[in-house]
């Protein structure tokens, strides 16, 4: 903006005030381009931020492939801020607010595997094989993320 004003003042003092519309024209174009780029990049950030909540703290390679280094850096910083905040609430262990985003009704839920996901260890040490179409009765909090990621499906009777 200051460059534009500088040009306009110059044009006035040199008696070329008919140039002023041209200066304003160029300036409008530059501002327009800047606005479009900024809005596009900002929208990308909004989506990247949403992924932390909807997908998890580790993004799949396909998405990382489409992110530039600065966006990756931003995501890591956001993750850190969120983690710091979560540690500061809910007493000593902190509180994971990315869990239980829907009100839980029971500790265990029935899930069906939508795709092969390999081995999965639950708290008592047992290992479950998540094979496509297999069904399991598992602790809700362990499954939540996998359901959001589309690996498991919450089955309700």
């Amino acid at each position: 903006i200051s460059f534009c004003l500088h040009n306009m003042n110059e044009a006035k003092t040199e008696g070329k005030s008919e140039l002023i519309p041209s200066i304003k024209f160029r300036h409008s174009c530059l501002l327009r381009n800047q606005r479009c780029i900024a809005a596009y990049l900002y929208d990308r950030l909004l989506r990247i931020r949403a992924l932390r909540w909807e997908y998890g703290s580790v993004l799949p390679t396909t998405i990382r492939f489409h992110m530039c280094a600065e966006e990756m850096e931003w995501f890591n910083q956001y993750k850190k801020s969120l983690a710091t905040y979560m540690r500061s609430i809910g007493g000593e262990e902190g509180l994971d607010i990315t869990q239980d985003m829907k009100p839980p009704k029971s500790l265990y839920i029935q899930v069906r595997c939508l795709k092969d996901h390999g081995e999965f260890e639950i708290d008592d040490g047992t290992v479950i094989l998540l094979k496509k179409n297999s069904q399991h009765f598992l602790p809700r909090w362990k499954c939540e993320q996998l359901i959001r990621q589309g690996v498991l499906e919450h089955v309700i009777s």
Binding site: P21, K24, F25, H27, S28, C29, L31, R32, R35, C36, A38, A39, Y42, D43, L46, R47, R49, A50, L51, R52, W53, E54, Y55, T62, I63, K102, P103, P104, K105, I109, R140, C143, E144, I147, R148, Q149, G150, E153, H154, I156
Partner: protein, 192 residues
């Protein structure tokens, strides 16, 4: 169900714009005709017209789009509900608000028409969004402008959430819609 984690920047209110709002950016793409003192009439995108316009200097004057002129204003006064605002817009309210920046003597009438039109139509939009459950809504949204469509969508989202709760399914965990969309795109990328 819509992803709740991604909330795009909403459009500005009234004559204000939101710098990062994609809706505001898109509505400014619309072209208008104007007269330059030399008498040349040309089409120009709104953002350029706003940048060049100066009340004192009279660089350019703006010809109001038909929809905001007296003829159409009378139609809106009579019965705003039947008008196809999508065809007339699709950013009827947004563009109309931006038109007010050009100091037309008709500004008070324009502003009033836009406001009254919104008030009349809003009730219908709200009612239909709350009563259309699990059905094809394309006929309902066909004649709505973009602002009304986003209101309709918000109403539907609320209705759907409420119905899920009534059925006792609010605790049903689902896959994230963002994730599903990105998966779909991956497949089309591979096919391209």
């Amino acid at each position: 169900m819509d992803s709740q984690s991604y909330k795009p920047v909403p459009p500005g209110i009234g004559m204000e714009e939101n710098m990062f709002s994609l809706d505001d950016i898109l509505l400014e793409k619309s072209s208008e005709t104007r007269d330059i003192p030399e008498g040349t009439k040309m089409e120009m995108p709104l953002w350029l017209a706003k940048g060049l316009y100066e009340r004192k200097r009279r660089v350019l004057s703006m010809e109001l789009p038909k929809v905001y002129r007296e003829g159409w204003r009378t139609v809106f006064g009579a019965d705003p509900i039947v008008v196809d605002l999508h065809k007339m817009g699709p950013y009827y309210y947004g563009l109309g608000s931006q038109m007010l920046h050009f100091d037309s003597p008709e500004n008070p009438e324009i502003a009033n028409t836009i406001l009254q039109t919104f008030i009349c139509r809003f009730r219908r939009t709200m009612d239909s969004s709350q009563n259309a459950y699990n059905e094809d809504t394309s006929a309902l949204v066909e004649r709505l402008d973009c602002l009304e469509r986003s209101l309709f969508k918000a109403g539907q989202s609320g209705l759907n959430s409420f119905q899920l709760w009534e059925k006792g399914r609010s605790s049903h965990l689902t896959a994230s819609s963002l994730v599903i969309n990105y998966r779909k795109r991956k497949i089309t990328d591979l096919q391209a």
